[in-house]
């Protein structure tokens, strides 16, 4: 399929393009993020009513540990040092004791929006007993830059909405303006003014969006 037809001039992407881009993203993530769990491609199997290529990307049970001081360290089982945001080393004995109380689990879903024609990030947090975390608690796990943005615009940045397929409240990053900065990314990264190849669309998108929720994209994925 002609990739130029899948990634549109204005930074948007078609459903077909999203499907290709999502698989490429999941593959690259697996190859370059050996210490992190991989994204899975979840088909909407119980929905006989939806077209079979309707799917979303899912990354679940990412653990974020809260240290005693209340500031968050991001860690996943077996993660390497590159992934730590703070420079202070963690007292491992304290971690082991507190894992049960302080562990926050996060699920991330990347869903295609037919209305905005861009991907959207949905996420939710819960404690080890499955109880959902409130936005106040989640804010403490987010990078501080995201928190100040949240404070400035209550209604338009991270909002609590219903997951499009799961009938539960999730948090969503508002997609308004996505296509504009994707277009900027695309223009600045190509010297000959070529269209962004569809395989890199989600990678580029996530390199920006992931940072909002504290997930880094390894540079090797952007090649």
């Amino acid at each position: 399929m002609d990739s130029a037809g899948e990634v549109l001039n204005d930074g948007k992407i078609t459903l077909e393009g999203f499907t290709v881009a999502a698989r490429a993203f999941a593959d690259k993530w697996k190859r370059h993020n050996l210490s992190f769990p991989s994204w899975s491609w979840v088909p909407l199997i119980n929905r006989t009513l939806l077209k079979k290529e309707e799917c979303y990307l899912s990354l679940e049970k990412i653990i974020i540990l809260s240290s005693l001081e209340g500031s968050a360290e991001e860690e996943s089982l077996g993660v390497t040092a590159d992934w730590w945001e703070k420079e202070e080393s963690i007292d491992h004995t304290v971690l082991v004791q507190n894992v049960e109380d302080e562990a926050h689990y996060y699920d991330y879903h990347i869903v295609y929006s037919a209305s905005y024609m861009v991907p959207m990030l949905y996420f939710r947090g819960y404690s080890s007993d499955g109880k959902p975390l409130s936005l106040d608690v989640i804010k403490r796990d987010l990078p501080s830059s995201s928190v100040s943005l949240l404070l400035e615009s209550k209604w338009t940045f991270i909002t609590q909405e219903e997951h499009p397929y799961l009938n539960r409240p999730w948090f969503k990053l508002h997609p308004c303006g996505t296509e504009e900065w994707i277009k900027l990314l695309s223009e600045s990264s190509s010297s000959d003014g070529c269209q962004m190849p569809v395989e890199l669309y989600l990678v580029s998108w996530f390199s920006v969006v992931g940072q909002v929720v504290g997930l880094r994209t390894p540079l090797e994925m952007l090649i």
């Binding site: 929905r47 009513l49 209305s115 308004c176």
Partner: protein
């Protein structure tokens, strides 16, 4: 107030401004009589209060009725803070869905008055997103308007460029069911519209013509456009004789919700009907073209045509604004006359599942 509407009559006449205003007026005046009961766990008075009787606008939202309902119950409530929610036969109601749509979807056989239960405590926050009263409903409305704008115009600049006071007035007109004010304000939203199938004029220079997802051919006729649609699909596994026999809904998982635009296609000599629109969203329910009389069908794939009607899925009922729709009606008429104030067309569908 029963909302009865002869759709066929109106469509047969050539759409004039007068008739269109009449259809939209009916939509805005449509209302559901509600009988609201306080949940028994929250009755702290003896005798328990009688139910509240409220007329709910179809295009409105349940949280906006709270100020009318609360006076009936405030003396009966246990002490504490309010967190209000509604349920129908135990099913928590999604407050951001217009009241008329909830009614059309959940009551296969329309129930008048519609018996709902109100709760002031124990908000089910694991299943319902929070509602902070009118502010939440307004935010939801504006966001839906922006999403519709993205679909129709390719961006939401038109909504963002509206002045704060115009946005406020627009929302107030919807809250109050004030069609005159809304009609005066809606040109300011600058939302493109679909050419009525009946209209012979090609409004090429019209400022209302759609951009973004719109394709215009050599003659300047709008050929394709994207239409904001929210489709709510309820499926039953067995066929039924009467609507009363449709089983009740226990969870929202029984509804498939499609928030997806319809690609409106205009082909020379062919009318894009409501059926075409729904089939584009639900390909599993495409009726066998050979069964339709006098119609030119597209080529069917061999596996689909081998399947008999019984084993294929079937569209049993399509409701928009409380009207049971004839599927042959031109989709452009349906959209222009029956959409909600945020420019979304909400369609409730009851289907029989395909047998596998």
């Amino acid at each position: 107030m029963i909302f009865v509407f002869q759709v066929g009559e109106l469509v047969r006449r050539k759409g004039s401004v007068g008739e269109k205003r009449m259809a939209v007026k009916y939509v805005w005046e449509g209302a559901i009589p509600l009988q609201i009961h306080l949940h028994k766990s929250e009755v702290a008075s003896h005798p328990p209060p009688p139910p509240a009787l409220v007329l709910a606008p179809r295009i409105g939202y349940l949280p906006l009725l709270v100020h009318l309902i609360k006076p009936y119950f405030k003396d009966s409530l246990p002490p504490g803070e309010d967190s209000i929610w509604f349920d129908y036969k135990g099913l928590p109601l999604k407050w951001y869905i217009p009241t008329g749509v909830l009614f059309d979807l959940l009551c296969a056989e329309p129930e008048r008055p519609w018996n709902l239960t109100i709760h002031f405590r124990g908000y089910p926050s694991n299943v319902l997103i929070p509602c902070e009263g009118e502010d939440s409903v307004k935010w939801n409305f504006v966001n839906s308007l922006k999403e519709a704008a993205y679909i129709i115009n390719g961006n939401c600049k038109n909504v963002m460029n509206m002045s704060q006071s115009d946005q406020e007035d627009l929302w107030t007109s919807v809250m109050n069911g004030d069609l005159d004010t809304y009609t005066r304000l809606s040109p300011k939203i600058k939302m493109g519209n679909i050419e009525d199938e009946f209209s012979r004029k090609a409004s090429v220079s019209s400022p209302q013509s759609r951009q973004g997802g719109t394709e215009i051919d050599v003659a300047g006729q709008v050929k394709t456009a994207r239409v904001p649609v929210r489709l709510y699909v309820r499926s039953v596994s067995k066929d039924f004789e009467n609507l009363e026999d449709v089983p009740e809904m226990d969870t929202w998982d029984e509804i498939s919700y499609l928030n997806r635009p319809v690609q409106f296609l205009r082909k020379e000599g062919k009318c894009f009907t409501l059926r075409d629109a729904i089939e584009s969203l639900l390909p599993e329910y495409i009726r066998d073209r050979a069964q339709r009389s006098g119609e030119e069908g597209e080529q069917r794939t061999t596996d689909a045509s081998d399947v008999s009607q019984e084993t294929r899925g079937e569209l049993k009922l399509v409701r928009i604004q409380g009207i049971e729709m004839k599927l042959e009606i031109p989709f452009s008429w349906v959209v222009n006359n029956l959409m909600n104030p945020e420019f979304y067309l909400h369609i409730s569908v009851l289907v029989k599942e395909p047998q596998r």
